[in-house]
């Protein structure tokens, strides 16, 4: 019986980095899952929540719970959005039936690498990627979802991939949502430190489980005219040997 997956696509992935979601679908189908995209979804509410506007975020959360009410398993290619649902929805809807619903949905919502390794027990998803890659440990996935090994194990399972360790891989890249624009100088400085760490590895690509980190790092890599390019974990896992 194929697993039925409901895809949760972060709003900025939907609008700005659609290939991340396309590649997520490809990977999930390759391992034999049935993938559905509930079109009623929009945004998990994180931007408003992080800025302190919880009353504006709450309706988005309630909408999310409605849209995904019947989903068996929800998979999302973003650590921060998965964190929003699992860790912060119960706090946002602090009591009553919505709170219990939030807890229940949170248990069924997984970040992509978390789903592949912890739920499906896979580290080899049939990918080939003949390049050197270094890994940036996105903060939400690392500290809120406690994902330390899972993305690395998946990367080691990719044929032809040369994994290079990055110093200070757990240091924040500096995106932080609206922090990136409200405190652009600090955000950029943190991003530059991250790009320096990437450059030292000499890797062709830097990857992470959070597309927002990668968007920010790519912006700074481009400014610095560095050699490395960003690529989301899903896109690496979706890659196949060239015919």
């Amino acid at each position: 019986m194929a697993r039925k997956i409901s895809l949760f696509v972060p709003c900025f992935v939907d609008q700005l980095q659609p290939e991340v979601a396309v590649d997520t679908v490809k990977v999930l189908r390759r391992i034999g899952c049935e993938v559905d995209f509930p079109a009623g979804q929009t945004c998990c509410g994180q931007p408003a929540f992080n800025s302190g506007f919880w009353d504006e975020a709450r309706p988005c959360a309630e909408r999310f719970l409605r849209v995904f009410k019947d989903a068996e398993v929800i998979v999302c290619p973003s650590g921060s959005c998965t964190t929003m649902v699992r860790v912060f929805y119960p706090e946002l809807m602090a009591s009553g039936p919505a709170h219990d619903e939030a807890l229940a949905v949170g248990k069924r919502t997984f970040e992509l690498s978390e789903f592949l390794v912890r739920v499906m027990g896979l580290t080899d998803v049939g990918a080939t990627f003949q390049h050197s890659v270094t890994y940036h440990a996105s903060c939400h996935g690392l500290r809120e979802l406690k994902l330390r090994d899972e993305p690395l194990r998946l990367l080691r399972g990719v044929k032809g991939l040369k994994l290079v360790d990055m110093l200070r891989s757990e240091e924040c890249c500096g995106f932080g949502g609206t922090f990136a624009t409200k405190f652009e100088s600090i955000s950029a400085a943190m991003g530059e430190s991250k790009c320096e760490s990437v450059a030292v590895t000499g890797a062709e690509y830097v990857t992470a489980i959070d597309p927002s980190c990668l968007m920010h790092v790519q912006g700074i890599l481009g400014r610095r005219k560095d050699r490395a390019q960003t690529i989301h974990l899903a896109s690496i896992l979706a890659s196949e040997a060239q015919a």
């Binding site: 396309v22 903060c139 932080g176 990668l214 700074i220 400014r223």
Partner: protein, 497 residues
């Protein structure tokens, strides 16, 4: 999207017209771009990281240690009145004095009056962030009293007329040459090779005169031990020991939240504080002072005063969700790990307490004028991951933001309006799709005309420092509708270009 944080004031405006938030943005921009500063801090923090990791490895079960310290502080804070009274009674029984100060001004007045009454001309001070919070030194100096900061780092920044850069390592931002030059200028003695050993020896010589001459020693307190009625002071240099042994009056100044229930609690707290603060197994001197010199003792102060400062702490206590912020043992680990702190340095905060704990605490102690500190964070959570008493620091930043916007007012109304619009779009998928499409379309046009980063670019706060994000012609949901909802994918999906 415009922000509720004001943009930096244009050049030409007088500095006094800047709000705390504007000043912060300006200083943060300067410091973040300062590569020399970045390198100095990087070296210091790498050294701390190595020592800290070695220190943690010495403790068999670090998570159990954190949990135990959390439990001790939680018990203390949630029974604060009981333990403060137990502490006070013991100190009074031994002939010590306990003064309860509601505000920093009251505390300063008490100490100043005491010093004047006793004819104090010279004060030696060991490190106390609370005395910085109270701005004590100027109050004493106004009376013609000479105040010597005796902690080496504090001594250095005092000579420079500067605030401490970091709560544990006050002169972290200076190198040995700068310190050598400072000593030559202010102390009149040169050390050509700027050897740290010789610099320390010079400071020792100068401060020794002060230790032996001073009539009053002022210390902080790391902990107030309730069952022993003792002030616990953790130091390495010996200045805390000399300040509390030689002068005839000892004043210990402390926040009311420093209480712990039992002497044996220090068996866990002392090693954890030292490990988190500097990577040591324990600080060189872990001192306990319970009263003035007893008749049968060889030496010691004739008078012992403990000043308990509230200054907003009881207000924080009443906020049950935020109460655990008072568990802080002031180790400095959160400052050390914070990437924001590493880039902007301690002075940019312009507050007594910096870094993550400072950002959480200061809006509560000093008001909404400092609320921008709660926003100056990417919420990475590194602080929470190292806090030895398990304070959920980054979640408290979120709470601060929530409470600040709830309180309303001009500062947040603009942003609230924008989020209300945003919410409307997010609740209506077709409106959301349309807005998304319009944004991508207009930005592609704008960037195509080379206008990225200019005043016409709504995302210029992004594009000023980064290459603009490439804009796809189709959203994911459009592709899903067109091709992906079928079982098979038509062609290979590529990477992130």
């Amino acid at each position: 999207m415009s922000t509720n944080i004001p943009t930096p004031t244009p050049a030409g405006e007088t500095p006094s017209a800047l709000t705390a938030a504007q000043k912060f943005l300006r200083d943060a921009a300067i410091k973040s771009a300062d590569l020399v500063h970045r390198e100095i801090i990087r070296k210091n923090m790498d050294s701390y990281d190595a020592a800290h990791n070695r220190g943690r490895a010495r403790i068999k079960d670090w998570e159990a240690a954190r949990r135990k310290c959390q439990e001790i502080k939680r018990e203390a804070i949630n029974n604060l009145d009981k333990y403060l009274l137990q502490f006070e009674q013991k100190v009074l029984e031994r002939g010590g004095h306990v003064f309860w100060a509601a505000t920093g001004d009251e505390a300063c007045a008490y100490i100043k009056d005491l010093a004047v009454r006793r004819g104090v001309k010279t004060v030696v001070k060991s490190k106390s962030m609370v005395t910085e919070e109270m701005h004590l030194a100027p109050v004493l100096e106004e009376q013609g009293i000479r105040v010597w900061e005796t902690d080496l780092g504090e001594f250095i920044v005092q000579l420079r007329n500067e605030a401490p850069y970091h709560i544990v390592t006050p002169a972290m931002h200076l190198d040995r040459q700068q310190i050598r030059d400072l000593f030559r200028e202010k102390l009149g003695e040169g050390i050509p090779d700027a050897d740290p050993q010789k610099l320390v020896a010079l400071a020792r010589r100068k401060l020794r005169e002060a230790f032996f001459a001073a009539e009053m020693g002022i210390s902080g307190a790391n902990f107030l031990v309730a069952d022993a009625g003792a002030v616990a002071i953790s130091t390495n240099e010996g200045n805390g020991r000399l300040s509390t042994s030689l002068p005839r009056i000892h004043v210990a100044v402390t926040g009311i939240e420093k209480v712990i229930p039992r002497l044996e609690d220090l068996g866990t707290l002392w090693p954890v504080l030292a490990t988190s603060g500097t990577g040591q197994p324990i600080t060189t001197y872990s001192t306990l002072v319970g009263g003035p010199k007893r008749a049968d003792e060889a030496d010691g102060p004739e008078e012992f005063h403990v000043v308990l400062l509230d200054n907003g702490r009881s207000g924080l206590l009443a906020n049950a969700e935020e109460r655990e912020v008072l568990h802080c043992i002031r180790c400095g680990a959160c400052l050390n790990i914070c990437p924001v702190y590493r880039n902007i340095g301690g002075h940019t905060y312009n507050t007594t307490y910096q870094g993550p704990i400072g950002s959480v605490l200061t809006p509560h102690l000093r008001g909404s004028e400092f609320q921008h500190l709660s926003y100056a964070s990417s919420l990475c959570g590194a602080c929470t991951s190292v806090c030895p008493v398990n304070i959920n620091l980054h979640h408290h930043l979120l709470h601060n933001r929530r409470d600040f916007t709830k309180a309303g007012g001009a500062k947040t109304d603009g942003e609230r309006r924008q989020f209300k619009l945003w919410r409307t779009a997010m609740l209506h998928p077709r409106l959301y799709e349309l807005s998304g499409w319009m944004m991508r379309r207009s930005l592609r046009l704008l960037y195509g005309m080379g206008l990225a980063g200019t005043a016409l670019d709504p995302l210029r706060a992004w594009s000023r420092k980064r290459m603009p994000v490439p804009l796809p012609s189709q959203s994911f949901r459009a592709r899903w509708k067109k091709e992906l909802s079928k079982k098979e994918l038509g062609r290979n999906a590529g990477g992130n270009k």
